[in-house]
């Protein structure tokens, strides 16, 4: 493997022993199209994600990255083609949508914590009301994940009292409390100050180390280099190129990828 192109702002060794890609298909997208009115946002997307894969999606702003991952848990509706998540096809059927949503965790750019609930309540709400977990058990699980993202002592505070990095880690813990099999991240660090990016990336890396299937929209190329097994480049609603990180960074194929990389890496 060649030299890392970018530095990862994490100063620990990454344990890759659990990062295994299996043959089992987690997400299957075939010939999927989406329009906003007459605007063709996503064009003929084909994509297979196997269980255990860690995929980074990048591309210029407005290229449809958010729209793509929001289609995977039906926050956006696609108009043609197929999306199958964990064997369940996403259609208008509300039962299927609920099933997929409870299997897929999502972390947003602006955290979207519930400001009227404490950190602990944020984490226990969905398990209690969607999964029907008893309150005590849900709280124990929540504390477990809050410890994992290293903020158990904030459990009884409100989101407004926490820093951005802490809020994003709570958001990750909140998703994990639903015991998802797939995690989606939509630019989880772009609303954060540099010193907080590190703590959130650290949390995401430890998730990857446990073998979680992850789709991350991010421009943290250091993260892509260190953790991803595949990088997907999108532009104008299309998947332009996908490859392993080292090939992607060192040997980009298309002109658009080269241009994008030169802008983002500043060479």
């Amino acid at each position: 493997m060649s030299d890392p192109v970018v530095e990862l702002p994490i100063d620990r060794a990454i344990d890759t022993s659990q990062m295994k890609v299996t043959d089992e298909v987690a997400i299957q997208i075939s010939d999927m199209n989406k329009w906003y009115g007459s605007f063709h946002v996503l064009r003929a997307i084909n994509m297979t994600v196997n269980r255990g894969e860690r995929i980074v999606i990048c591309g210029p702003s407005g290229s449809g990255k958010s729209t793509l991952i929001r289609c995977i848990n039906r926050l956006e509706e696609h108009q043609s083609g197929q999306i199958i998540v964990d064997g369940t096809e996403l259609t208008g059927d509300l039962k299927n949508i609920d099933k997929v949503r409870s299997e897929v965790g999502m972390v947003f750019q602006h955290f979207n914590l519930f400001p009227h609930l404490t950190i602990l309540e944020n984490c226990t709400l969905a398990p209690i009301w969607v999964r029907k977990v008893p309150k005590r058990e849900a709280e124990a699980t929540a504390m477990h994940f809050l410890e994992k993202v290293k903020i158990p002592e904030q459990a009884n505070k409100y989101p407004g009292q926490l820093s951005g990095g802490q809020q994003q880690r709570v958001a990750i813990a909140r998703s994990l409390c639903m015991k998802p099999r797939i995690m989606l991240f939509d630019e989880p660090t772009s609303a954060l100050d540099p010193e907080m990016i590190k703590e959130v990336l650290d949390t995401m890396i430890s998730l990857a180390e446990e073998g979680m299937t992850m789709l991350c929209v991010t421009h943290e190329m250091g993260f892509a280099q260190a953790v991803a097994n595949r990088v997907i480049f999108m532009d104008q609603g299309q998947v332009v190129e996908q490859n392993t990180p080292s090939e992607f960074f060192n040997n980009p194929q298309s002109e658009r990828t080269k241009l994008f990389l030169s802008q983002i890496l500043g060479h």
Binding site: N112, V130, G160
Partner: protein, 432 residues
Amino acid sequence: MSDTHSNTVAYVRDTMLPQTEPPLTEKGALKWLRENLFSGWLNTGLTLIALFIIWQALMAVGPWLLNSVWNAGSLRECRDILDGATGACFAVIVDRWHQLLFGFYPRHLYWRPVLALVLLFVALSPVLFPSLPRRLLTFTAIYPFLAYHLLWGGSVWLPIGAALGFVVGALAYIGLKRVNNLLAVFGAVLAPVLWWLVLAGPFDSTMSAVLPWGLEFVRSDRFGGFLISLVIGISGISLSLPLGILLALGRQSDMIFIKSVCVVFIEFIRGVPLITLLFTASLLLNFFLPPGTSFDLILRVIIMVTLFASAYMAEVVRGGLAALPKGQYEAADALGLDYWKAQRLIIMPQALKISIPGIVNTFIGLFKDTTLVVFIGLLDPIGLSNAIRASTDWNGIYWELFIFIGLLFFIFCFGMSRYSLYLERKLKRDHR
């Protein structure tokens, strides 16, 4: 002076003087006066003018209030006692307070509305103060039926039969939920309606025949005074909030039919004066109802006032909904919460919190609007003040009655306003 410093620093105090009180002119009331009322020629002038106006007002009203007559049988007696001096004649309140409060409600039954009011506070307490035990909410659920029975009396089986409708609905829901969700919702709506239309009547008559329990019946036309304002106001307030929330949600719905019904309803009601709705209640509803039904006038007014306030409430709540970031809906969706759970647990708690000032505003407006029922012949406090003035004893008395009525309304409205401030402070959680 110590030697150690004297070489390097010319003068440094190293024993500190104790702190002293600020001089008199820089302290307490005097300082406050100087800074706030006399801080310049303009302010001094304005202060003096204001003082003069206050003085004049006190001179005009003061003697009138201080000379109040509290014991007299008529306005003539009052004037005799005053013997030419200015003075208020609050004797009218002493003489007629029971009418202003209860209308023509039978005197020996006054304890019933009073008990209903006391129990109202018990029923409200778990709603207003979440720290109280949740078990009290059971009483809150029973209260409307209990209050109805206390106020109107009659057979105890009528309110029980009405309440059983809800139980029937709940049972139908639980029973059918095992079969199908949609069916359960239909059943929960249909079963109680069937119960009320078909079975509640026979239930009432058979049970009354077997166990003729109940309080003495009081007809609606005996109700009056502040009692009527409270009955209409409180029913309107507690019904218009849930209805307004449903209308606001309906207005945002993707289902075009529900959306149009809500929009048309809200825009129609907001575009029509309340008084026309009240006239509709008193005249027109009779045409629409099946012949032979005598539909209580107070009940009709409650329905109209509720519909009126709920249209305003819907718009207030919509404002709160619009203020919520889209991310809150998305986070709730992404966690797998369905529409109603997301509304109940995430959206409404925040939207209602934002809307508290507007909601309370609507409540207060509704409560004061109950005085409009005087125009359709109900004897609310204003109506009674006219009636009292019509008697020869109190012909020509105005101020004292209006002051008393105004004070009663003020106590309730001010109470609501203070509670809303308390609630806003308590719910302030964003710490921004």
